[in-house]
């Protein structure tokens, strides 16, 4: 009995020792040398793996950071400047300060503004619906409301408004990863500069039809009249294809454009009520 135990122990010990020697040499032969800083950078990142940086995940981004000679275009939108400072200090590089961004859905075509002209009963995803037809209203540029952006958001930052059916962004949860931007087949979502107190002045429309056509399809469409372009003291507004666009990097939130917009396509959000004359055109309530 006891001899069996001894044999077993000896045999296993010999096998173990042999395996250890083989494994040691194999490990030496196939050794992968990895920069230890990759682990450090990976650690410093938020670990959301959202792809907002343009890389396949946080690890891939960390590798790219370590490889890069300057951080320049490398930016983690989720972690923001704080994370990038940490990454920079690990790597001994200079962090480039980036303005935080937030997604905005540029359509305000609720049922009351944009009457339904047809109905769709196919597969309920925006990608499919937009590939077979233009939408349930006369506006081919507007939101379809099937929630591809909602599905794409990993951060619960998008809610589908229960009444209007149009998605809304919860600014404090949005990390500007851009997943919704890619998911929207109508190209409605834009990452805009995050302003103090989440204030916004946006042309909430993508309709590129001529004024009359746009207006007929939706009462709050941008008709391309150009009043806002003339009014803007900071040259922040440009007009292309009958559609105004406010560059969030140039906008100083003066709200002069909101006052002159004849259709209410320009929207202001999270501002206190005006003193001189009360705001009438405010269509969407802030989410938070």
């Amino acid at each position: 009995m006891s001899i069996t135990v001894v044999y077993t122990i000896v045999t296993l010990a010999v096998i173990g020792a042999a395996a250890a020697v083989i494994l040691y040499f194999v490990a030496q032969k196939f050794k992968v040398v990895e920069d230890p800083r990759i682990d450090d950078v990976d650690e410093a990142l938020p670990g959301a793996n959202c792809g907002g940086c343009g890389y396949a995940g946080c690890r891939a981004f960390a590798e790219a950071c370590v490889k890069a000679s300057a951080l320049g275009d490398l930016n983690c939108p989720v972690g923001g400047n704080e994370t990038m400072n940490n990454v920079a200090s690990i790597l001994g590089l200079e962090a480039v300060k980036k303005d935080p961004r937030v997604a905005y859905i540029r359509c305000n075509g609720t049922c009351e503004h944009r009457p339904k002209t047809s109905s769709f009963d196919g597969a309920t995803t925006c990608a499919i619906a937009s590939s077979v037809y233009s939408g349930e209203s006369g506006c081919q540029y507007g939101c379809l409301g099937y929630g591809d952006c909602y599905d794409a958001c990993d951060f619960d930052a998008i809610v589908m408004h229960p009444e209007t059916g149009i998605p809304e962004i919860i600014d404090d949860k949005c990390v500007a990863c851009g997943a919704c931007v890619d998911a929207c087949p109508k190209d409605l979502i834009e990452l805009r500069k995050k302003m103090p107190k989440n204030r916004k002045v946006v042309v909430s429309c993508r309709n590129q039809d001529k004024g009359g056509v746009a207006r007929k399809a939706c009462s709050v469409a941008c008709i391309g009249c150009g009043k806002c372009v003339k009014e803007c003291p900071f040259d922040a507004i440009t007009m292309e294809n009958n559609l105004a666009y406010i560059d969030s990097d140039k906008c100083k939130l003066c709200r002069k454009c909101v006052a002159v917009c004849p259709t209410g396509a320009i929207i202001e959000e999270n501002f206190p009520p005006r003193k001189v004359k009360p705001v009438e055109k405010k269509e969407t309530k802030p989410v938070n």
Binding site: S118, D121, A123, T125, S131, Q140
Partner: protein, 443 residues
């Protein structure tokens, strides 16, 4: 035992309501909108501008590449604008608006009803004339006919198949054309055979059109090499690859064109258009359209000028019935619901179908129960349930390996699914994405 294709297929209720209605000439509309993209391939380039006077048959948009065709004016009058207007999907497409004034045709078109049997042109000239006349496949796919007739290098056509199957329920435009223009179709077939250099042609007709089979059989005796093949009623037998399989027994390999097995398929409507283009010098600017539906006052077959608004056709057939749920351009299986009645008739419009409210709604989508009915009805031998999932999950490289591009979008899978799953919606979406993937790879 009648011939049919080997795998899959369904047999939806036929509902050929208008099969005994003679083709009527629809009165001229007041205005037309003629899109410049009525075919597969590059859109034609408009060659008229606002204010120009045009005549019937005049070229108003020129073919822009080999896979493209000319567009001719279907009416005479004044061009009011060259602009964009919504097509059946609601997206704007470029086209030419013409205000109709009288009915003046360009010189050279033979407007008589006399049959011209004598063929005085040679093969290449036929192809050239077909190209000039803007003829496309009138079965619905609208592929430019002249491209089909010139086989790629190293391939040779052996047989011409004429598609008189009309397997879509409700539609009767090809059926009526075969009954009323049999002689012209036979000459058209001769012309196509000459253009391709083949001496054999087979007309495939489903067995639910015995009058057409009988009539064409009689006509065939006067022409060498042409025969009629009656086929068992089975959808989608009108599909090119299915028809080839049904008539010749050959299978077109995955991803290949019918010419790979020596066959070229043309619709009876196309054969008729070829006859008119060559023997009568008349370009393609009108076609037979079935207007049908269970609630419709008088389902009819109209000869319609291209560019006429659908509202005019429906008005002529008795107006939109009250309980209409959907108006479909094409047949119920492959047609598309149209978003507005301003959508014009194009070269590819074979029918307009008004579906009643209660029939038009899709059933609630339920979970897949793995019954495999979709797999057994798929005429291309694909696995629709799998392709749908791959489309849903956006796994497009796998979808490509599962041969999603072989799908002919016949809709048999969605039709047969007991859980009413939108199989074709997702497969079509996947096809679009995989197609884009393949194109970007080729660049």
């Amino acid at each position: 035992m009648l011939k049919t294709f080997k795998i899959g297929g369904v047999h939806p209720p036929e509902n050929k309501l208008s099969k005994d209605k003679k083709i009527e000439v629809l009165p001229l509309p007041k205005t037309v909108f003629i899109p410049v993209a009525q075919h597969i391939g590059a859109p034609a380039t408009p060659v008229v501008k606002k204010g120009d006077e045009v005549k019937v048959g005049q070229v108003i948009a020129q073919s822009s590449s080999f896979v493209s065709t000319n567009i001719h004016s279907s009416v005479s009058g004044k061009v009011t604008k060259v602009d964009f207007s919504a097509d059946s999907s609601g997206y704007p497409k470029q086209g030419i608006f013409i205000a109709v004034d009288g009915d003046e045709w360009i010189e050279g078109i033979d407007r008589s009803e006399d049959l011209v049997k004598e063929i005085s042109v040679d093969g290449p000239e036929i192809v050239k004339k077909i190209q000039e006349a803007g003829i496309v496949g009138l079965g619905g796919a609208t592929f430019p006919t002249h491209v089909k007739l010139v086989p790629p290098k190293g391939m040779k056509a052996e047989v011409l198949l004429i598609n008189g199957v009309e397997c879509e329920p409700y539609l009767t435009s090809d059926h009526r054309l075969m009954l009323e223009k049999a002689d012209e179709i036979m000459v058209g077939i001769q012309l196509l055979m000459k253009a391709m250099g083949v001496d054999k042609a087979v007309i495939g007709i489903e067995n639910n059109k015995p009058d057409a089979i009988k009539l064409l059989n009689e006509k065939c005796s006067a022409y060498k090499g042409v025969s009629v093949q009656p086929l068992k009623v089975q959808y989608p037998q009108g599909g090119e690859k299915q028809l080839i399989n049904a008539v010749t027994g050959k299978e077109v390999p995955s991803g290949a064109l019918p010419i790979a097995v020596g066959a070229v398929v043309s619709n009876v409507g196309t054969a008729f258009a070829v006859y008119e283009a060559i023997q009568k010098n008349k370009p393609l600017f009108e076609r037979v359209v079935t207007v049908t539906g269970k609630g419709l006052e008088k389902p009819s077959n109209f000869l319609v000028r291209v560019g006429t608004a659908t509202s005019e056709l429906i008005e002529a057939a008795g107006g939109v019935p009250e309980n209409t749920g959907k108006i479909i351009s094409g047949g119920p299986m492959m047609g598309r619901a149209i978003a507005s009645l301003d959508v014009p008739v194009t070269k590819g419009t074979s029918g307009l179908l008004l579906i009643q409210e209660e029939e038009s709604k899709r059933e609630e989508i339920q979970a897949c129960i793995r019954c495999s009915r979709c797999t057994s009805v798929c005429p291309m031998g694909l696995e629709p349930y799998l392709l749908m999932t791959l489309g849903e999950k956006q796994i497009f490289d796998r979808a490509e390996n599962e041969r999603i591009m072989d799908c002919i979008e016949c809709g048999s899978c969605s039709y047969t699914c007991p859980s009413s799953r939108p199989l074709l919606d997702y497969i079509r979406f996947g096809k679009g994405k995989v197609g884009a993937m393949i194109r970007s790879r080729k660049k």
